[in-house]
Every structure is written in structure tokens, then in C-alpha cells.
């Protein structure tokens, strides 16, 4: 066991820091602001500066460091990748404001795509193509395999009918990674296929969906007789379910860093808030702030411990805990920011409340993290069944 990284790792960090000092656009400093991107103008979902920044990262091999240079990386080791994620999170610099292309589409196509489809990967990572993911449906949320958007095979093409929902960035996307049912008679996990849809195709209707903060960065997407060429099938017909698990495997062990760093930043925001409101000497407030800090600190330790197992080649159960733990703690932290404001906790008037009502808005938006990408309840099921070996719930 050792506390510090070695000199080689620190040299790597220094190189990254030098690059960031030179290239980070000033807008990126606000990119991970407390309330995330929810307050952004709907019409400017993915602003030009963020697209330029993503391309710069790609061109310098800093977009996905573990990938080779032609895919926006520099063949980094796992430890270097962790240091990269650590440093980006510490400076709160976002790589990209649209994750589906580089984080989901690219690794999935590299693993399952045809030669032609793999040619789409560099543009997905560089952000030149904006992707959305057609997964959730009104009746297929946690039970994703219950999706019912259908694709029927006619001659050399698929015809898609149905509806997706919570589709992030659909309004801005050029392409959609769309999960469809191609065999309604098969058991539900075995009749799903993955198609690449061009969002310009006739029959696709996109309706922005406002979320709780009032902003809209996801949408409902309706498909009416949408024609998709046969060669846009990814992988094998009816074998799409296993591709749903796709993500940046070599970054999964470090993705918690961003969650923990955000928690730490938000807790520091609480300390500042308590100080401004004259509550920082209140013993109850102090104890609560310390407890929140303790929990964030122990999660950081857990993240590193999990990473150590991963770097040694073992599967690391620690990672199953991190999403649930950071998102749940985040909710508490934001809510405590409201509590510290007493009667003013629900005020959204920028002239009367604290900081534009960002605590109440942050609290509302923190639910995204305990619901999206596998709710906390689903995470607990996964921990219980896959990590603890308990029998499946009937």
C-alpha cells in the first residue's frame, strides 16, 4: 500500500496540466457548475466553444487517453487514465457536453460494429457527429428489455415504429443509436436489435421534454415508418441486448472521480453558504457539515481502493457502490443547502434568495443522478445479486 503516485505518474500529470493551462477555454471553467447544464439556453444545447474544445482534446490525444492517437488518445495505462480523470475533475473541466457519442457509441461500435460502422468512431469521439441513444421508452425504464419500439424487416431495410423517451440531446443529434424489437415472439432479452438511425430520416418526430428545472436537454422521439438500411444493423439480428452493456470499460474504474469531486465542491459550497448566513459556528451545522465531508472522503478512499483492484486485474465490486453512493449523498448535500436557508429555502427570486436559488434547483436536478443510468434501487439489486450473491428477486 502506498499513498502517493510515483514520479512517472506525476510527470504524466504535469504534462496534462501544461496542456490544460494552455488550451482550456474559459467557458469550460463553468462547465461543471453546481447545477450542471440545466440552466443553459435550450437553443444552445452544445455550444460552439465546447465543440471546439472537444476537437482540441481529440487532436492532442487527450480525449480518451487510453485509446490510440487516431481515436483521440495516447495509449495510456489505467493509472494514467485515472490521473487524467482526477485532474479534469479537480479543475472541473468537462471533456464534452454530450457523452453518448464518445462514451457509449464509440466503444460499442469498436467492439460490435462492421468495418463501415467503425469508420464512424473518430467523429463520434471528436464530437463532429452528435449522437443520441434510443433506449428508454414510456413502458421500458428500469425494465429496459421490455422495450417495444418495433423494426420490421422489409427486403433490404428495416421499418421502425414506436417511441423513445428521456433521449438526451435528441434535438441536436445527427444520429441515433436505437434499440428496437425485431422478434416480438422471442423472450424479451432475445428479440432486441441495435440500429443506427440518421436523425434526418423522414418519420422521426422530436419533441423536447422539459425537466424539473424548466430546461430541456432531453426529448421524446417518435418513429413512424422510419426506413433504415439493412447495413445499419449493429452486430447480429436479435442480439442487441448484450450491446446495451457497452461503455468505456477502461474508464469505468475511474468515472467515480468526477462524482466525488463534484460532491467535494458542493460541500465546500455549503461551508461558504453557512459562513455567509452566520451559521458556521452553530454546533449542529458544524457537525452535519463534517459528517457530509466524512462521507465524501470515505467514498474517495473507496474509489481508489476499487481502482487498485481493477488495476490488478480483478473485477472490483467497489465500483458497483460508487454510483449509488455518490448520487444519494449528492441529493442530501443539495437538500442541506436548502435547509441552511430556512424560510428562504424555496425562494427562486434571484434578488431575494441565495445564489439564484441554485440550491433548490441543484436539489431538484440531483434526482437525475439517482434515477438515470440505473436507479439507486436497481443499483442495490445489482449489488445484492451480483456482488453479495443473493438469490434473484422473483
Amino acid at each position: 500500500m502506498q499513498l502517493a503516485w510515483g514520479p512517472e505518474e506525476e510527470a504524466f500529470r504535469a504534462e496534462l496540466v501544461e496542456f490544460l493551462d494552455e488550451h482550456v477555454p474559459h467557458e469550460a471553467d463553468a462547465g461543471f457548475d453546481y447545477a450542471d447544464s440545466g440552466e443553459r439556453d435550450d437553443s444552445d444545447l452544445i455550444p460552439a466553444w465546447s465543440r471546439a474544445w472537444q476537437a482540441t482534446l481529440f487532436d492532442h490525444g487527450w480525449m480518451i487517453p487510453a485509446y490510440p492517437p487516431e481515436l483521440g488518445g495516447r495509449n495510456c495505462t489505467p493509472v494514467q487514465t485515472l490521473i487524467y480523470l482526477e485532474e479534469m475533475a479537480r479543475r472541473r473541466v468537462p471533456r464534452s457536453l454530450h457523452f453518448p457519442g464518445y462514451a457509449i457509441v464509440a466503444p460499442s461500435l469498436l467492439e460490435f460494429g462492421s468495418d463501415d460502422q467503425r469508420e464512424l468512431v473518430p467523429a463520434a469521439i471528436r464530437g463532429d457527429t452528435i449522437w443520441c441513444i434510443g433506449m428508454s421508452e414510456p413502458n421500458a425504464g428500469s425494465d429496459l428489455a421490455g422495450l417495444s419500439t418495433r423494426a420490421e424487416v422489409h427486403d433490404d431495410q428495416f421499418v421502425v415504429n414506436g417511441q423513445k423517451v428521456w433521449t438526451s440531446y435528441a434535438m441536436a443529434a445527427q444520429k441515433c443509436f436505437c434499440y428496437v424489437r425485431t422478434d416480438p415472439s422471442a423472450p424479451k432479452h432475445k428479440g432486441i436489435s441495435l440500429l443506427i438511425l440518421d436523425m434526418e430520416t423522414p418519420g422521426i418526430d422530436i419533441r423536447p421534454l422539459r425537466h424539473i428545472s424548466g430546461a430541456a436537454n432531453f426529448a421524446e422521439v417518435f418513429f413512424s415508418d422510419v426506413v433504415v438500411p439493412r447495413e445499419n444493423l449493429v452486430g447480429t439480428l436479435n442480439d442487441g441486448w448484450r450491446i446495451t452493456q457497452g461503455s468505456l470499460a477502461h474508464e469505468r474504474a475511474g468515472l467515480w472521480v468526477e462524482g466525488v469531486s463534484r460532491l467535494e465542491t458542493t460541500i465546500q459550497g455549503l461551508v461558504n453558504l453557512a459562513t455567509r448566513r452566520g451559521l458556521i459556528d452553530d454546533p449542529i451545522v458544524r457537525r452535519k457539515l463534517a459528517e457530509l465531508s466524512e462521507r465524501a472522503a470515505s467514498l474517495r478512499a473507496l474509489g481508489y481502493k476499487g481502482f487498485s483492484s481493477y488495476a490488478q486485474g480483478s473485477s472490483a465490486p467497489e465500483h458497483s457502490f460508487m454510483k449509488m453512493a455518490t448520487s444519494e449523498l449528492g441529493k442530501e448535500v443539495w437538500e442541506y443547502g436548502m435547509e441552511l436557508q430556512g424560510a428562504y429555502s424555496a425562494v427562486a427570486d434571484p434578488d431575494r434568495g441565495e445564489e439564484d436559488g441554485r440550491w433548490v434547483m441543484g436539489f431538484f436536478m440531483s434526482f437525475a443522478n439517482t434515477i438515470a443510468g440505473g436507479s439507486s434501487e436497481i443499483q442495490r439489486n445489482i449489488i445484492a445479486q451480483r456482488v453479495l450473491g443473493l438469490p434473484r428477486t422473483r
Binding site: 502506498q2 453557512a274 458556521i280 457537525r287 470515505s298 478512499a301 428477486t393
Partner: protein, 329 residues
């Protein structure tokens, strides 16, 4: 930051696990309730590891996690986690026989308020094993240390059968006090606190393992109760607290060993997180066991008792949170 165990550390952990599993069964804990000499045979094994008291804290924690798993009674913890480090801070000649496992000792610091800060109270509180160890190191303000043998003590019963607690009278004829560097003394207490947190992580793991095993074997409504989501989610939450506590403990141990600037904060984080893990594993463990977990006959209570006894010692969660607050804001 690397949590990977070295081959030597893996060997230490595996050796400790085997030894303690064999030599410290629940029957020993039960015999020890009425007769503390029942733990003497265990000490004859554990004395071989007394040198951990003068080595890296990470190694002591690996061992303490296993003593916590079996709720080992006796002089090992006070000798290795408190007495030897204090002797080291003093540069005292008893250190050599203490790390050789030839003499045992304990440390008396807290006064009437139970807080482990040097003070001049006439009665020291929450001193483990004070009646059976060879030496009691009494710490008064300064801090200054007086080594005494056979002081006047009074057993104070706690719920924890594995850690026998005493009040120690500070005698006027105790002999000369030797002053100890305040910073070195603080490190002694920090080491002991992190080692205790490691022990508690071990006890929490034991409670969790028992509850998990029971959830898999206990059948109600024709299925194992572990197939019910209410039980699964409870166990997932216990597992999370256990994992984060264990991680916080080894982070703190590494920070203390490296004399890192974060070590003071990390110590408070470790003890508080271990307290949460141990008491939650205790509470939810008994709930998952249902009626049988409420009986004297079942071994569960031996560990629940140790969890709560440990939570109360060397600073509760609230106390450590308050200290952490002093360091942070």
C-alpha cells in the same frame, strides 16, 4: 494511491485470519465473560505479533481487522495499539520487551469526561485490561507519562465482553513522570484510533457476513429471505458502509505512515466511518436475523456488543465529526 497488499501483507492477513479463526472461537468469548483468564491461551499466540505495535500502521490495521472479526479479548490491542507506541514516543527501555511480547501494558488518558486528552483528573476512565496487564501508563497533562504496576482499579461493566474497561486511580506515590513530545503523543492516539477503526471494520464485516449467510439460508414463505428486496437493499446498504469504512481505515493508515498532511483529517474520517459501519451492521444484522438474533444463545450479540463498545471508545462518531469540523472550517 495504491491499496494493493504486498505479498508480505497478504501473508500477514491470511496468517492472522487462520490463527484467530482457530484460536478465538465464540466459546472462548463466552468463557471469557466470567473468567478473563480464558483469553490467556490466545495471548500466547498473539504475543508473537506484538511487534506490529512498533511497525507500519497499515500492518497493524490488517491484523486488527482480523482481531475485530473474532472480537478477540485480552491484552493484544492495548499493548500493540497503545502501550508500545507510547513507549516508542518516550524512547522507553520497556519497548523492546513489549514488542517481543514479553510484557503487556495499557494506557490511561481519559478523565471523568471520557475524552482521550491529557488531563490531571484523579481517576482515569475507560482503560482496557488494567487489572491484568503488567504495566499501566498513566498520562497526565503536559503530557507526561507515569508507568505504574498494579494500580488501584475498578472494573466498569460495559456491554462489550471483549474489551474489559476499568477506572484507574492516579496514585500520589506513582513515581516520576516522564514528559512526552505533544506531537508524538498525538500520533500515538492517532495510531490507536485508526487501529481501533480497523478492528471495528473487522467486527462490522463479521456482523455483515453472519447476516448475509443467514439471509441465504433462512427460508420463509418458501424462499430464502435473501431473495426479498427489503432484505437485499438493507444488506447492500450495510455492504456500502462496510466498504467505505474499510477504505477510509487504510487510507488513514497510509496517511499516518507517510506522515501526510491529511493524516489528522483521515483519522477522524476513519473512526467515524467505522462507527457508522459497525453500528449499522449490528442493528441491521439483528433485524435480519429476527428473533434468533435477539437471544443469548446466538453468537450475534457478542459482536453487536463489541461494535457498540468500540463505537463509544476513543471518541464517538459525533466527537470525531466535531474534531473534523475544527480541522476543516
Amino acid at each position: 494511491m495504491d491499496f494493493t497488499l504486498s505479498p508480505d501483507q497478504e501473508l500477514l492477513r491470511d496468517t492472522a485470519r487462520q490463527l484467530l479463526g482457530r484460536e478465538c472461537p465464540a466459546e472462548l468469548l463466552r468463557a471469557h465473560i466470567d473468567d478473563p483468564a480464558a483469553a490467556d491461551a490466545l495471548w500466547l499466540h498473539l504475543r508473537d505479533f506484538a511487534a506490529l505495535g512498533d511497525g507500519p500502521l497499515t500492518d497493524l490495521c490488517l491484523f486488527a481487522e482480523e482481531t475485530g472479526y473474532v472480537a478477540a479479548p485480552g491484552p493484544f490491542f492495548p499493548t500493540a495499539a497503545l502501550f508500545s507506541p507510547l513507549l516508542g514516543a518516550l524512547g522507553h527501555e520497556l519497548l523492546a520487551p513489549a514488542v517481543a511480547g514479553e510484557v503487556t501494558g495499557t494506557v490511561a488518558v481519559a478523565g471523568a469526561d471520557g475524552v482521550w486528552r491529557a488531563n490531571d483528573d484523579g481517576v482515569k476512565t475507560f482503560v482496557p485490561e488494567a487489572d491484568r496487564v503488567d504495566w499501566v501508563a498513566v498520562v497526565s497533562s503536559g503530557p507526561a507519562v507515569t508507568l505504574v504496576q498494579s494500580p488501584s482499579v475498578r472494573r466498569v461493566a460495559t456491554v462489550d465482553f471483549s474489551r474489559r474497561m476499568f477506572e484507574v486511580e492516579v496514585g500520589s506515590d506513582a513515581g516520576p513522570a516522564q514528559s512526552v513530545d505533544p506531537e508524538a503523543f498525538e500520533t500515538v492516539l492517532e495510531r490507536a484510533t485508526v487501529a481501533l477503526a480497523a478492528e471495528m471494520a473487522g467486527t462490522a464485516r463479521r456482523l455483515f457476513d453472519m447476516a448475509l449467510a443467514y439471509a441465504k439460508e433462512r427460508v420463509q414463505f418458501d424462499v430464502p429471505i435473501g431473495s426479498f428486496q427489503a432484505i437485499q437493499h438493507k444488506l447492500a446498504d450495510v455492504a456500502l458502509d462496510l466498504e467505505r469504512a474499510t477504505s477510509a481505515v487504510y487510507y488513514a493508515a497510509m496517511a499516518v505512515d507517510a506522515k501526510d498532511a491529511d493524516r489528522h483529517r483521515a483519522t477522524h474520517v476513519a473512526k467515524a466511518a467505522a462507527g457508522t459501519a459497525a453500528t449499522r451492521a449490528a442493528k441491521d444484522g439483528i433485524q435480519i436475523h429476527g428473533g434468533i438474533g435477539y437471544t443469548w444463545e446466538h453468537d450475534l450479540h457478542l459482536f453487536i456488543r463489541h461494535a457498540y463498545g468500540s463505537e463509544a471508545w476513543l471518541g464517538t462518531r459525533d466527537w470525531h465529526h466535531d474534531r473534523l469540523a475544527e480541522l476543516l472550517f
